[in-house]
Symmetry: C2
Subunit: 455 residues, 2 copies
Amino acid sequence: MTKIPHRLYLTEDQMPRRWYNLRADMKEQPDPLIHPGTHEPLPAESLYPIFCEKLARQETDCTTRYFDIPEPVLDMYKLYRPSPLCRAYNLEKALGTPAKIYYKFEGNNTSGSHKLNSAIAQAYYAKEQGLKGLTTETGAGQWGTALSEACAYFGLDLKVFMVKVSYEQKPYRKAVMQTFGADVTPSPSDTTEAGRAILAHDPTTGGSLGCAISEAVEMAVTHEGYRYVLGSVLNQVLLHQSIIGLESRQAMELLDEYPDIVIGCAGGGSNLGGLIAPFMQDKLLGRTDPRIIAVEPASCPSLTRGRYAYDFCDTGHVTPLARMYTLGNGFMPAPNHAGGLRYHGMSPILSKLYHDGYMEAVAVKQTDVFEAAVQFAKVETILPAPESAHAIRSAIDEALRCKQTGEAKTILFGLTGTGYFDMAAYEAYHNGRMRNHVPTDAELAEGFASLPAMA
Amino acid sequence: MTKIPHRLYLTEDQMPRRWYNLRADMKEQPDPLIHPGTHEPLPAESLYPIFCEKLARQETDCTTRYFDIPEPVLDMYKLYRPSPLCRAYNLEKALGTPAKIYYKFEGNNTSGSHKLNSAIAQAYYAKEQGLKGLTTETGAGQWGTALSEACAYFGLDLKVFMVKVSYEQKPYRKAVMQTFGADVTPSPSDTTEAGRAILAHDPTTGGSLGCAISEAVEMAVTHEGYRYVLGSVLNQVLLHQSIIGLESRQAMELLDEYPDIVIGCAGGGSNLGGLIAPFMQDKLLGRTDPRIIAVEPASCPSLTRGRYAYDFCDTGHVTPLARMYTLGNGFMPAPNHAGGLRYHGMSPILSKLYHDGYMEAVAVKQTDVFEAAVQFAKVETILPAPESAHAIRSAIDEALRCKQTGEAKTILFGLTGTGYFDMAAYEAYHNGRMRNHVPTDAELAEGFASLPAMA
């Protein structure tokens, strides 16, 4: 057998040159975005006031299987990609499992996460269209950092609305974004109608991704030369993130490996959708049949306890409606520390695949997640982001199951990023001050009450 | 010409399996460590109460050219090495220089710096000798983090004394070390004689690496089963860090390249000594003649304004005397933000090479350093540590000189680490609150007055 290295880097030449559009191989398509008033499906053109034109077309394109990655995007990818495929020899040994555990590590860049993959694409298309700048929201700050880097690189202005609870927990995230030239505002803020309305309703709210999205969209549509960009949920984002899965599959092929189980954390779905894309293709085309597992926080369980329904993507009701697993746009997640997973909805593509039985979902508790994070860090030496640690938790659980059954399964999980800016959460865990919030049925019902009425 | 990739990773198989001991090729040796009372040279055995035995022997070995890297050390290296050799295409373009700029990036690991290279070696030898634990000091926190990772991996206890000003500026550094199981105490502290003496003299001091070393050494020699380890200055550390230079030279050979200029930041000399090792070997053996430049902060200018003299390595006078460029062990550097460069002395090996004319040194001001850091980050997308940014400043200056002269020189610099934990310093720079402290001659004279009297 070939000796499998601890970390495998594809060469620059081996880097994928096309993104893969999962929708092209889905037997049934996700339901289209619809207008909140008329409930009519939205054509690409109707999205042009919000998104760059090329991105709007990617958003609505269900048939083009592959999109060429533009050269300037590839050039910036080459500053941190291909990312390593890692064999977790030490974790396997520590668990005493016969399973082979692989992880694709996306944290080796200054944003500290996979978010840069889509940020670069979105900034590039904005520049190509001759825009002045972009607006966005950020939760944990990884998306905002990534977009700051991309905007600095392509010479675009950037306004970031950062979920207030994260803004306060992570003061230095803001400083990183500012180093790359971005404006950062805590959300909800009094700079937008949407923000003022949310504050009027609850002046002490810590905010949410949903609120921040409302503010960023409003800012974009009311400012000449600006468009809005989003780091997750959208079809275009999953398209760009497919590079994670494409590299993973290619690297595993070089090692003569293929995963039995693919695991990713799921907030809005950007990492999960990207990681699983080519493996899901294999599954949709009947070539292979890996198990695919989405891992979400028990505090924000959109797949495992949400409804598959049309809902707003934001709290302020400025976006179109998307059909997805959702807790209701009015659901306010508890301030847990995996800021990137505090979102009421889920990518429509992933929601449809889950609905149709192509993937599984599990919800895990925060203290169990941090236990896995610390165990992983000590043997694999990478300090994971809390978001990523959800996938670690599930990978460990699956590997321990293999230990019981004696099966030598091959597990691949996505290690989306690093936890350098999440040390307040780690401290809370170490000090025993971390709580596990699991919403009651009554709390969920309150969220579902915010779902828009459909004919 | 071969197309040179943005990042070149050697494969696991190409990883160097031996460290290189620069002293073996020096025509004149650095002066030996001597006993502070008798002024007699210290044999390896006399260091056993402080250092592990194998490390003490490495410390005093001037003739063994190569040391095999133990297999368990190689195994842990494989979790983050080989590190990438990067071609700074974007920086070259931004500067409009004909120079080719390369950098060896050591920040792709959780410690965020090159420090892990020696931490692993030192922890391994301690474990091999059957010790219970280690003590150390840390400035910026990178060494402490690295050693925490290594001790967690090998199952050793660790007590870290962290320079108080850094402890306060970087609360989350502490949390990272604690995640890996280390005890962290701000220095000076009341837990040691040395700390209490320093506090009695100046209760409000922000501390220094020199103070913290005194405390850590005292703690090691007064606790059964503990030894002291240091992340810089020592000959053994330069030996372990030679892996940086060995990988760099090997990667450049694959690209058919060789540096005309090699640049590294210099605090105690760990990165610089490691990066330049094989190039200095070429120079010592007359095979090539690259310029080698040490870059230090103007606030702590040991090479450019210090004396070449025997001095204590610490402030509390618990260490042997080393002959080196020093500002005097009583010199208290201004609280600038490159914590890793706030040390009164300099590696005896590098001091000797500098004294004998084999390398140059420049001192740079902090605001100029951060200007270079931000310029670099925006085009190369890596947020550099302030320490590393000293080398960036000098590399940019050399590249701009090439622009003036039209020379297409090949520049290699060491990008020792990332700046995620230095955002308070970046904020101070952005807000215009950063000051440049350059010690007056009177301040230097005060430091020199602390040099021990020699017969």
